[in-house]
Subunit: 168 residues, 2 copies
Amino acid sequence: MSNEPNWLTPEQQVAWRPFIALLFRLPAAIEAQLQKDAGISHFEYLVLANLSEAPGWTLRMSDLAALASGSLSRLSHVVSRLETRGLVRRETCPGDGRYINAVLTQDGWAKVVATAPGHVATVRSLLVDVLTPEEFRALGAISEHILREQGVKTFIPNDPSRLPQTSA
Amino acid sequence: MSNEPNWLTPEQQVAWRPFIALLFRLPAAIEAQLQKDAGISHFEYLVLANLSEAPGWTLRMSDLAALASGSLSRLSHVVSRLETRGLVRRETCPGDGRYINAVLTQDGWAKVVATAPGHVATVRSLLVDVLTPEEFRALGAISEHILREQGVKTFIPNDPSRLPQTSA
DNA sequence: TAATAAGGGTTGAGACGTCAACGAGGCTTG
DNA sequence: CAAGCCTCGTTGACGTCTCAACCCTTATTA
């Protein structure tokens, strides 16, 4: 193989630069809204939202980490914080002491219900509603393509009737 | 205006979920490679890279912050660190003491030259080369669309009065 | 020229994420 | 059943980001 770096072509740079800017700014904007209006981080919101959609408001730590796209260590810290705030509690898995389940509390559910509408509105105003339906569909398909290439399986909601649709 | 939250439709969720996963995972992957191979963060890389492309290896702090899509406070901390590592230095703008220029040093240039190929290779393997050219172009166009909607200019305003001036 | 306004940049404290080391439970060999 | 191992999960130290208060320089106003 050659030592010569395989630089991006000018055309590729024209696509790359806005994308990398988006990769910095969109999370920052979402983070800011959630922090201001609900006092939680985006990651914390994803944790609560995923739990709220899980059967029995319960998920194993490692599964929850994967669903929220974070490390197990990060999740452990976050669940500890959410636990002291009374939004989540831990239970060792009955029958197999290796596993630990995170369980949403009533207060946690209330928090999700109170937070979701503002979050969805923000996502709409920043992203969904500024794109044409075709653009948004394409964005989803491209994202899935990239993730699939890295062996990441994206969770598809199987029961849309379960409300609220917190995952926005 | 209704109080009823405007939830995402199931079709929109199908697009949103992979995208939000990408928004978490791609930065993490890029971060990991840069940290491992070069000992710098992605944001630090963007700072150095933008300086290396600026005339005179020089940019005003606030312009650099905008180019790197970060806050001025964050940039100030980062530049301080890069300064102690000898990769960047600060200069008060001659003729207007309010402004401060960040200037890339020779060592900083060397760092960019040494780091860029690996970074580009990573971006290619994670993103560019797994998409079709049409997909990648579309991704760039969609990103720019979103940013434009928020008034973000992807490129530096080519205003000569904002360049470092040796004389008024 | 003095007082004030306005904006760029810095600083410190607190919150958060990462990394590597560790602990604990259960499975698999002998 | 004992020893090792594997995986899940936790912990604490350290580095980094955010937020708000602050300083400094220039422009404005009287």
